[in-house]
Symmetry: C2
Subunit: 258 residues, 2 copies
């Protein structure tokens, strides 16, 4: 049987609020695929600095599996301009055969949790981090697979409803990075406030301080046509997606607020 | 005169789409303060691994200046449980006098930019990254300053409308980290689609492919009282904030979509 979860180890184990930690592929992948933006981090050495800091870049991406790798286990595909920063490493870089050691974070905020005391304030969230080795994808088939995957992960059916295929110049300018996941975990908080026992005994204070959850989600507005747009009405696949994405995100945030 | 911007250097210079790069304190600080969640990254060595990966954690935080440092220049204060991961570094850590080298990222997504071809797809966003040295704050005055600052940065007037001050046990459990910013920059994209010249000449295709922007923002729902809540109505400072935050976020996303 194929494995269906990440092994716990020192790198991915959730130690604070252990019960919020989740390790199944089905816990981790959907969070990465639902986040509108991913944050990736790697260690970079600035060319004119003696000090080195990690770098975080926001990027588009999602999970996928291509060719022989297709199956339960998925990689993370990242899309966009491949910054020269990726190559300025002293010890490892994207063009190494071992790849570049990278961390990918996906965070969805589902609400603000307002307890009676600020130190018990929290938020409802779904968070995933993955550690892996990043490689620049050069195989043309895999590059096309990833471009379509990432485009349609953001907005379903968008790829086939655009001008495709990309031109030679566009292909050259677009970098596709594949992160082979070595370890990952998810952390999820859902529910209403958690209170200090003593605070619950203090009715005078409780009559003064409001406690509860303010749900939150990413809201999509009405599509605004570009000045150059020549299509009269917003196509169904966009209109329907905006409506459905908003409705399900709102419902989710309210459901976990209770 | 006090400096009011970050000096450009190899670490913070925006090289891709240079015109989107901004370096003023007034460009960087408001993005950090507006993001509901910050992502921070540092280099960690897993205790039982020979390979080391950077780690990303989502945290609450905002900019501030305390005591002698008060003025134009601000630090970033982060709030929450101080993970043991912060201390597992081989070369530098939070308890070093030099601090822990850290990157802080704030990303606000303002819309999905749908060009005629997927390779010109983009998004409207405000993004800031800051590089700095992180220190655990031990001074009690500064710790209280930061707790109030971060609480009210998320929801104005919340601190004074809760049970304060925190108990001794709560104080012990709450870590405050101050990041002294060494370098930072912002990157902002606003506006409608950018198209390939040749695509604009292809009217047959343009009558088929919708192009434009789908605005997006963080939407706050109706506050849901906790089962233990004893305050009958949602207080004005919360109700007004939810209404105003939604209205201004929505307006902003529509304004930059044009």
């Amino acid at each position: 049987m194929e494995p269906d979860k990440f092994e716990k180890s020192s790198i991915n184990e959730v130690k604070r609020y252990r019960n919020r930690g989740k390790y199944g592929y089905d816990d981790v992948y959907p969070i990465i695929d639902s986040a509108p933006v991913l944050h990736i981090s790697f260690h970079a050495l600035a060319s004119d600095a003696t000090e080195s800091y990690p770098v975080i870049l926001p990027m588009f991406g999602c999970t996928g599996s291509y060719g022989e790798k297709a199956g339960t286990e998925r990689s993370i595909y990242l899309h966009g301009y491949v910054s020269s920063r990726f190559f300025k490493k002293s010890s490892n870089s994207l063009d190494d055969s071992d790849g570049l050691k990278i961390c990918v974070a996906a965070t969805l905020m589902d609400g603000l949790v307002l307890a009676l005391t600020p130190n018990h304030h929290s938020c409802n969230y779904r968070s995933a981090i993955a550690f892996g080795d990043a490689h620049l994808v050069t195989d043309e088939g895999e590059r096309f697979y990833a471009m379509e995957l990432i485009t349609n992960n953001i907005l379903p059916e968008r790829w086939e409803n655009t001008r495709i295929p990309p031109t030679r110049a566009e292909l050259t300018a677009t970098g596709i990075i594949r992160v082979d996941i070595k370890s990952a975990s998810a952390k999820v908080r859902a529910g209403t406030t958690g209170e200090d026992r003593n605070d619950l005994k203090d009715e005078e204070m409780r009559r003064r301080v409001w406690a509860g959850v303010i749900p939150s989600w990413t809201q999509w507005g009405s599509p605004i046509p570009a000045p150059t747009n020549m299509v009269e009405n917003v196509p169904d696949y966009i209109r329907t997606w905006v409506k459905d994405a908003n409705a399900s995100a709102e419902k989710f945030a309210y459901d976990v607020a209770k």
